[in-house]
Amino acid sequence: MKFLEKIIHKHEPKFAKGGKLEKWNPLFESFTTLAFTPAHVTKKGSHIRDGVDLKRTMMMVIIALIPCLLFGMYNAGHFEMVAETGNRSLPFMDMFWSKLGAGAFIVLPLVVVSYGVGLTVEFIFGLINGHSLHEGFLVSGMLIPLIMPADVPLWMVAVATVFAVVIGKEIFGGTGMNIVNVALTARAFLFFAYPTSMSGDTVWMAGKEKAVDGFTGSTAMGDLATFMGDKASVGGQAIADGADALGAFTHEYSILESIMGNIPGSIGETSVIACLIGAVILLITGVGSFRIMVSFALGGLASGFLMNAIGGNAYLDLPAYYHLVIGGFAFGAIFMATDPVTAAQTATGKIIYGFVGGMVAILIRVLNPAYPEGVMLAILFMNVMAPIIDHYVVEANVKRRLKRLKTA
């Protein structure tokens, strides 16, 4: 790698202060620091520094996302085939490679668009503000495609990414300063700006233009939402009044399938197993917060039990543990709620943040039929609430110190 180093040293003066290309220094710096850890040394204080930096941390999250990405690709390919054949009970493992290929063809463009657009915006802001690329978007850029429906048009992803990076992050000052999760901002933007492309029965499977007439690609969340309305349906089949809607549901989306992930849904969210592999990576490396993940799940369970206790219709009677494995709950708990910038920052705060977040997610899911999936809104809501939670945790610490003064 000596030759690369030589190239960098050769061109460095041009980008340095006073150089010809000074304006482009952030760009130059971004690329050189991608290839080489810079030669920055400590000055005083702690003369040695931990090996970890933000790039390494972000890389761990991306590695943790790979199982979800791969499974998401395959799943997208599978359901494209389902939509084309109109057969929802198509065997999952048949034609492995062609499904994976088809899925890659659906998912990779989304990834490319998300990264391309997002990094461009980041570079522009970097040039304006004179700083090199900050690493936050490396993760956001991967998360955005994973929380999109497979059928979302590419231009929409581009628009949403621009919105998320500019409004969600850069106007607050960039990585580390944002209030709400960037990836979820992108999704929320599409959710409210283009609801027809982000919810309903038709968006979850790619290739609907080729689909057989009358076929619906409804998801578990969509079906459950119908239970709260007048006309319950599961997998596109209307459930007659008085029939066992819950039974039909658990038949269509068995617990095993929900954990495995071979059900329709957003690209990365369906497989609980893939999410859990990611969780293990995040927890072993210490990048993700154990407190948030566990308390989020417990909050969801608590809310689920509360619904069971109220009871009354098929959705309220859905076993509490089911909530954890369908929809984006696992993905949200593991990858979204744990975003360190937007989550609560104190240890106690994280537990409260996670627990309330999990509860609210299920409450929105069950009680508000307009929003079949509540995880996104719950996490965004908790992002906004996190500073308040932290405030009270900090106040408690301050009070402890004041009390010590009084008793002393």
């Binding site: 030669a39 204080g45 702690s46 090996g51 970890v52 890389m59 936050g136 580390g176 920052q345």
Partner: protein, 453 residues
């Protein structure tokens, strides 16, 4: 009333180059230096001029604003130079030694019958006072204040730190005399806190007239700040004085012999030292003859003190006033390719408190770390990492943020009075965003000093 404390938080950074327990006599230094920059916020007023002859114990300068606080020459000889920097700030006072070590006085002083005021007067006029430091602010103690307690740590837990049990072994007499002196300074308790993990030397165990505590855990267990927080925390308006164990013995020696004899044991440590060991060396001595033939590579950083809180000095620089060790580590001023040594690399050469490098599984391996920051400065992103190495009931990240934003009220509430920059040394080490936390805390303390004290 002795307390024993167990800490769960902290971090021991395992570095190559622990000093072997062999003590050598170093060649007597040709020059020694007293650096006013070792004393934070102290502005010196010179008493001697260049070319003047001094003895060991002659006052060189005093604090311009607290003229009772005086600084003495550790060696006899001639003032070679008064080195000034920008705006004529005095950086160091160089003394060319004559090798004879003539002492200003040589008569023992009996403290038993003395009042606190008399003891204080002797410490101030002899130039020993700068050894006494105060919390809050971590500066030389203001002799006008009443400390509620005095804390001495009997061990140093920082990386490659000298072993006080070894250094002070057999110096019971001097150490006890020093304790007798400082216990005159307070109506409160003198706390001597020993390492709970291993039995301490008799020098400490058999110390009298003090409260003996033990603390066990990883670094910063040996930091006096940690001990104060767990034994007798500082509230607003209170003062605690602290001394280094070896300095206590030096004070004791002065009272026993009357000589301003500032020879101390230091550890020469670090991965770039051929044979790390202990040396007996004069306060402020030039280190070039210690390092001669000892440094094993070209591009090194010499640190007076430990790697977490020490000061960078030249290879012919001088030992800092409060330091008990010299550390030499490789300089890290070169690019590191991403796939081999950088952020995508396997990272078998990296030591990290996070578990993002596989080395977290190697619990015995010792590391040769350089001065590279291993990344660029960023905004705070990762949360909870500072808490893991900060065994205080204080929220480190919130306090640092308050310090960065000059939020005086916030700093007061969050506990700035209890901390010194050195308490945040590990936080600075582990910070993923590479923020100079000790600097920020120091700036916060300066603000508090000017606004609230």
């Amino acid at each position: 009333m002795s307390k024993s404390i167990k800490l769960r938080k902290g971090l021991d950074i395992r570095l190559v180059g622990v000093a072997e327990k062999v003590k050598s006599e170093a060649a007597f230094p040709k020059t020694v230096s007293i650096k006013p920059t070792d004393f934070h916020q102290m502005i010196p007023k010179m008493v001697v001029k260049e070319g003047e002859a001094v003895k060991a114990g002659t006052i060189l300068f005093h604090d311009k604003y607290k003229s009772s606080v005086k600084f003495a020459s550790p060696a006899s000889g001639i003032i070679k130079a008064i080195v000034r920097g920008a705006k004529r700030r005095i950086l160091e006072v160089l003394i060319e030694t004559d090798g004879q070590q003539l002492y200003l006085s040589e008569s023992a002083i009996n403290v038993d019958e003395m009042s606190a005021e008399q003891v204080k007067e002797i410490l101030l006029s002899s130039g020993l006072w700068p050894f006494v430091r105060q919390r809050p602010l971590d500066i030389i103690a203001d002799p006008e204040n009443e400390p509620k307690a005095i804390f001495v740590s009997a061990f140093d837990s920082s990386p490659l730190a000298p072993d006080f049990d070894f250094v002070l072994h057999g110096k019971n007499h001097e150490f006890q005399a020093g304790l007798n002196v400082i216990s005159k300074l307070t109506t409160g308790t003198v706390h001597l806190t020993m390492n709970g993990k291993i039995g301490s030397d008799a020098t400490f165990k058999e110390a009298k007239g003090v409260q003996l505590n033990t603390i066990s855990g990883k670094h910063p267990a040996g930091n006096v700040g940690t001990q104060i927080h767990h034994i007798d925390p500082i509230n607003k308006g209170e003062f605690v004085w602290t001394l280094n164990a070896q300095d206590v013995a030096l004070i004791g020696r002065f009272f026993l012999t009357g000589k301003f004899d500032m020879r101390r044991s230091i550890a020469l440590t670090g991965s770039e030292i051929k044979s790390p060991q202990y040396f007996e060396i004069l306060q402020g001595a030039n280190v070039s003859n210690l390092l001669e033939g000892q440094i094993t590579s070209d591009n090194v950083r010499v640190i007076s003190g430990n790697v977490l809180t020490g000061d960078k000095i030249d290879q012919d620089g001088y030992l800092g006033f409060y330091h008990n060790q010299i550390t030499v580590i490789p300089e890290g001023d070169h690019l590191k390719f991403v796939m081999t040594k950088g952020w995508m690399g396997p990272g078998f050469d990296k030591f990290s408190n996070s578990r993002t490098f596989p080395t977290w599984m190697l619990t015995k391996k010792k590391f040769r770390l350089d001065t590279n920051t291993n990344g660029e400065e960023r905004a705070f992103v990762v949360t909870g990492e500072l808490d893991k190495v900060f065994p205080f009931d204080i929220l480190p990240m919130q306090l640092v943020k308050a310090a960065i934003t000059d939020d005086i009220d916030g700093m007061e509430k969050l506990g700035i009075y209890e901390v010194a920059p050195e308490d945040f040394a590990l936080c600075e080490y582990v910070c993923t965003s590479k923020i100079d936390i000790q600097d920020k805390i120091r700036e916060g303390l300066d603000l508090i000093a000017s606004e609230c004290m």
